[in-house]
Each structure stands twice: as structure tokens, then as C-alpha cells.
Amino acid sequence: MRSKSGILLHAIGLVLIIAFSLFPFYWMVSSSFKTQAQILASPPQWFFTPTLQNYADIFADAKVVNAIINSLIVATSTTLLAVALGTPAAFALARYEFKGKSDLWFWFISNRMTSPIVLALPVYLIAMYANLLDTHIVLILIYLTFNVPIVVWIVTDQFKSIPPDLEQAARLDGADQFTIFRKIYLPLGAPGIAVSAIFSFIFSWNELLYALVLTRRNVQTAPVVATSFMSGYELPWGKIMATGTVIVLPVTIFALIVSRHMVRGLTMGATK
């Protein structure tokens, strides 16, 4: 039993952490409803009459709308493909012994050890020779190289925590490997799959470097467009913040939808 002062300190700590992490978010959202003068006012204006002008401006801009659609296409396709390709790989790595397994495992992890900028030029050249510059496909492919390892990594761990007895019981029940994967491992691995899907989505949605290097006009993604406001002689803070808010929304919604699968103790009751 914790003391009352302990609980109070705990609560204060939590409030501070929440305030610290949410304040920038608050600043972005509130600024998106301010005029340029209100944003630049010092001291900051805590109370103001909100305006929707910034949103009207960005949604009137075909570039922004297109960018968001592009981002949605790229992030959704990447996430779906990463999960579809990564989970069977994770199943194999978690449950089978085969030659070169540990090397393969290391390769999956080491994929994330390289700094993306190191590969930017070679990737650009490959994309150019393959005539893939400024297409959705090139972004999806390059994001998959980052996201499949993440899915494999997280989901393998999740699959390993499923008692092997369950698989053997299913084998005796007459289930083949694919059925075991589909009926036992996928539902029980849902928390890990959900986490890895969120990571995939966020990564693909936020990625800036490759999006900047590999796209021109047609498939610019949202982060690329948001930064493009920063060129020229003025900084339209209101539009930047409004774009930022719009960019954050889909990720938040996606995370909320998926997070209901992130319940712990899903395998409880399988074994004593």
C-alpha cells in the first residue's frame, strides 16, 4: 500500500510529463487557429478569437491536398505490405530452425543500423535508372526496406511468447502450418502486429529525407510540402501549423484504432 504523499508525488510527476509532451502539440494546434500577428505577439496571446483562415488557405492549395493524399497512399500501402510480408517471416523466425537463421535475423536488425542519408545517393541513382523517380512505388519500396525489419523484429518477439504447446495442440487437431499461422499466431500476435503497424505508418507518414530526394512534383508527401512553406521571404506560421495539425491527425486516428488490439495478457488462460 503506497502512502498518500507517494501517490500525490506520482500524480504531480505524471502531470509534468504530460504537460511537457503535450505543450508543443497544444502550441501547434492553437497557432493554427491564430493570425500571423497573434502568433508573433509577445507576450503570447493565450486567449484569442480563433480563425479558420489558415485551414481555408491550405485546403484551397491543391499542393497540400495532393500531398496528403500521396502520404495516405504511401503510408497505407507500406504498412499493409510490411505487415503482410513481415508476419509470415516472423512466424518462420520464431518457430522454425533453418540454416542461416541467425544471419537472416541479424540482417533484419542491421538494416536499421545504417543512417538513411548514407544510402540516399545510391537509392536515388537506382530509382533514376529504373525510371521510378517521383512515383508512389519508389517511396513504398524504400519505406518497406525500413518497415519490414521493424515488423519482423517486433512480431517475432511476440510470436515467440506464444506457448509452443498451442501449435502442437493445433497440429494434433489437424491444422496445417498456414492454418496455425492464421488461426493461432495472427490473433494471438495482434498486440505486436498492431504496434509494428503503428510504427510503420508513423515512419512512412513522417519520413522526409527520401521523400525529398525521390519526389519532384507529382508525389510530394505532406512533410515535404510542410517544409516547402519555409522557403521564400516570409514564414507563414499559421499555414505551417495548420498543415502540421492536419498531418498529425491521420496518425493519431490510426493509432487510436489500432491500439485497442494492444491489450496485454492476450495469451492468458492458454497454459497454467
Partner: protein
């Protein structure tokens, strides 16, 4: 031909030999128990029958068919795991129906069979629950139910009761015995608990270090253990062993010497006089429940160490000259630590083993 036959089955993991050649046959409807200490290979053997472990050498036949390399599902067996291995994301009904769905049994038939199994195992009110909402005993029943619905040729049980508390274990033991009586299916049951082995088995296979020590009915193993290992394993508390030297070999009797014996010597009737000679060491086996206090013709003179009152019976731990002897007596004898006990036994209850532990 036997219903289940193991023909010099061997299992090795790399250089480690786990099962070193087990041959055994069970008749249809028989309840066979594999018993032995942990690490003896009994679970591995069961999993080889199930098809979950490969057979390194030897052959396995079920119902006259060689299934050594057959897929687990095609062997038409079902297994109750020590951990139950219930599918946690499925309801009790779905857990039991899973195997039938895999076998593409019609939905109406699935419903009939699951309902029937649920009735037998008193699971009817729980069919919609998930395993996590069940108690240990209920999970155990579901695991058994999942086996029953498939109408397997053989039931395999891998230490199914070891996760239950003592009371529930006794209750489930009785239920499994009833189930065997009602279904009449061949059952192979693995346990390290000799009480489960004695009470459930038609025949017991005693294993040690990957080898069969003895196969027989519970009574045979209790009355005529092949060696000191089986003698010590079957029966609780375990048999007392006292080493003695042979001082005289008569026709149909041996004279043995040990300071614990009253008068220093003991004459035992045996038919195996030809296998020992004077000067040999033999092991005398005495079951605690056969020993009696205040015998008219005492055989051992012992000092009481301490007594455990079990209510209806008392366990006495006594010693003499380095031998520790346990005695079980009915009621509560009026003795206290330090007392000298004069203990007797009927001649027919004396077991004799040679120096290597083999029965004489």
C-alpha cells in the same frame, strides 16, 4: 496384433541418447501409464507416439499400421497437455470444436459432439467463456473435452494433473478413470506420481534414463518388483532397503547378517538360493506398511527418530547402525523419540535383491 506397438524405439538429440530402445505393446482399450522420475524420457516417448517428436530409430504401429513417419493429425490421436494448451482467444466451445472444424465435420455434428462432451465433463454452463475466465480444474476439463470430441483411437495424457492442487487432483483422477471406463478407449498416460500410476493403470511401464525397468500390472509391480528401482518407486512411503551379508545358504533359505536384525542375523525363505553364496551382499526390502510394532517374533531392533501423526495412521522414522527405516502403523502408537522399537514382518513380505539391485 496389438493396438499400439512400440518396436525398439530410440531417440537421440545430437549425441545425447534420450530413449535407448523401448519396446512395448498395448491392447485395445487398455490404460497404460508411463511412470518414472523426471528426465527418464517418458514425456518424450509420449510425444513420439503423438508424432510431435521424430523417431530416431525403431517403429511405431497403431491399429496394425506403421505410423512411424505419419503426420500427427493422421494418427487419429488426441493429447491432453500438461499446460492444457487451450487456445486463449477462442471460447470453450470453439476450443473443443477446432479439431472437428479442421476435419471438416458438418456443423450440426460438431454441435452434437461438443454438447455431448460438455455434458460428460459438466462444462455446459461454460461453453461461451474464454479460457482465462476458467479455474484450473475447468481448464483441465476443457482440455480433456477437446480430446474427447474427436473420438480418437488413443488418448494421450502428458502429466495432466500436475498443475492442480491436491484435492482437485484426486477428483480429476477419479474422473479420468470413469472416463476410461465409459469410453473404453485406449489411453496412454504419463506421470511421475506413482499414486496416479497405481490407481489408473491397467498396466504400468516404469522408465528410467530412457530404458524400461519393468512392465506389469500395478499389483505385479508392487508384489514382484524386478529391481530396487521399481521397488523404491512403486509404493509410498518408499520401500526400506537394508544391506546384509549372506552368512549361510541352506536349502530354500538364507541366513543374513546385519546389526539391525534382532540377534544380528535373519533367516529368510527364498527359492533363489542358487544365485548367492556365503559372503555375498544382498539387499533386504521391507515396505513401511508391512512392518508391525510389538511383533511376537521381532526382526529388527530400531531407535525411533520421530513420528508423524497423519490422523488415522502414524509414520515412524527410525534408525539403527546407519539404516533408516520408515514404518507406517494404524492408529497412534504410544511411542516417543528415543524409544527402542521391536519391529516384525511376515516372511512373505520380505523382498530380496542381489548386490546389483536385481530381485532374487
Amino acid at each position: 496384433m496389438s493396438f499400439l506397438q512400440l518396436d525398439t524405439i530410440k531417440k537421440t538429440y545430437g549425441d545425447v541418447s534420450v530413449i535407448k530402445g523401448v519396446s512395448f505393446a498395448a491392447a485395445k482399450g487398455e490404460f497404460v501409464v508411463f511412470v518414472g522420475p523426471s528426465g527418464c524420457g517418458k514425456s518424450t516417448l509420449l510425444r513420439m507416439i503423438a508424432g510431435l517428436e521424430d523417431v530416431t530409430e525403431g517403429h511405431l504401429y497403431i491399429d496394425g499400421k506403421d505410423v512411424t513417419y505419419e503426420e500427427p493429425a493422421k494418427r487419429e490421436l488426441s493429447m491432453v497437455f500438461q499446460s492444457y494448451a487451450l487456445y486463449p482467444h477462442m471460447s470453450v466451445f470453439e476450443n473443443m470444436a477446432f479439431g472437428l472444424r479442421m476435419a471438416k465435420v458438418p456443423e450440426a455434428e460438431i454441435k452434437t459432439r461438443v454438447t455431448e462432451a460438455a455434458r460428460i465433463l459438466h462444462l455446459e454452463p461454460l461453453l461461451d467463456r474464454k479460457p482465462r475466465a476458467l479455474s484450473g480444474g475447468q481448464r483441465q476439463r476443457v482440455a480433456i473435452g477437446r480430446s474427447i470430441v474427436r473420438h480418437p483411437k488413443i488418448f494421450l495424457f502428458d502429466e495432466p494433473l500436475s498443475n492442480l492442487d491436491a484435492e482437485l487432483r484426486t477428483q480429476m483422477r477419479v474422473e479420468i478413470a470413469k472416463l476410461h471406463r465409459d469410453l473404453g478407449t485406449t489411453m496412454v498416460y504419463v506421470t511421475h506420481d506413482q499414486v496416479e500410476a497405481m490407481t489408473l493403470a491397467d498396466r504400468i511401464v516404469v522408465l528410467r534414463a530412457g530404458l524400461v525397468e519393468q512392465i506389469g500390472t500395478p499389483t505385479e509391480l508392487y508384489d514382484r518388483p524386478a529391481n530396487t528401482f521399481v521397488a523404491g518407486f512403486i509404493g509410498s512411503p518408499k520401500m526400506n532397503f537394508i544391506k546384509a551379508s549372506v552368512t549361510g545358504v541352506g536349502s530354500g533359505s538364507l541366513t543374513l547378517a546385519n546389526p539391525s536384525f534382532v540377534g544380528g542375523t535373519l533367516s529368510v525363505e527364498t527359492v533363489s538360493t542358487g544365485r548367492v553364496k556365503a559372503g555375498d551382499t544382498v539387499i533386504v526390502g521391507l515396505r513401511p506398511e508391512h512392518l508391525e510394532l510389538n511383533a511376537a517374533q521381532p526382526l529388527l531392533s530400531l531407535t525411533l527418530d520421530f513420528a508423524e501423526n497423519l490422523g488415522g495412521a502414524t509414520q515412524l522414522y527410525s534408525r539403527s547402525e546407519g539404516d533408516i527405516v520408515a514404518i507406517v502403523v494404524h492408529g497412534r502408537p504410544d511411542v516417543k523419540p528415543g524409544d527402542t522399537l521391536r519391529v516384525g514382518i511376515e516372511g512373505r513380505h520380505i523382498y530380496l535383491f542381489d548386490a546389483n539391485g536385481l530381485a532374487l
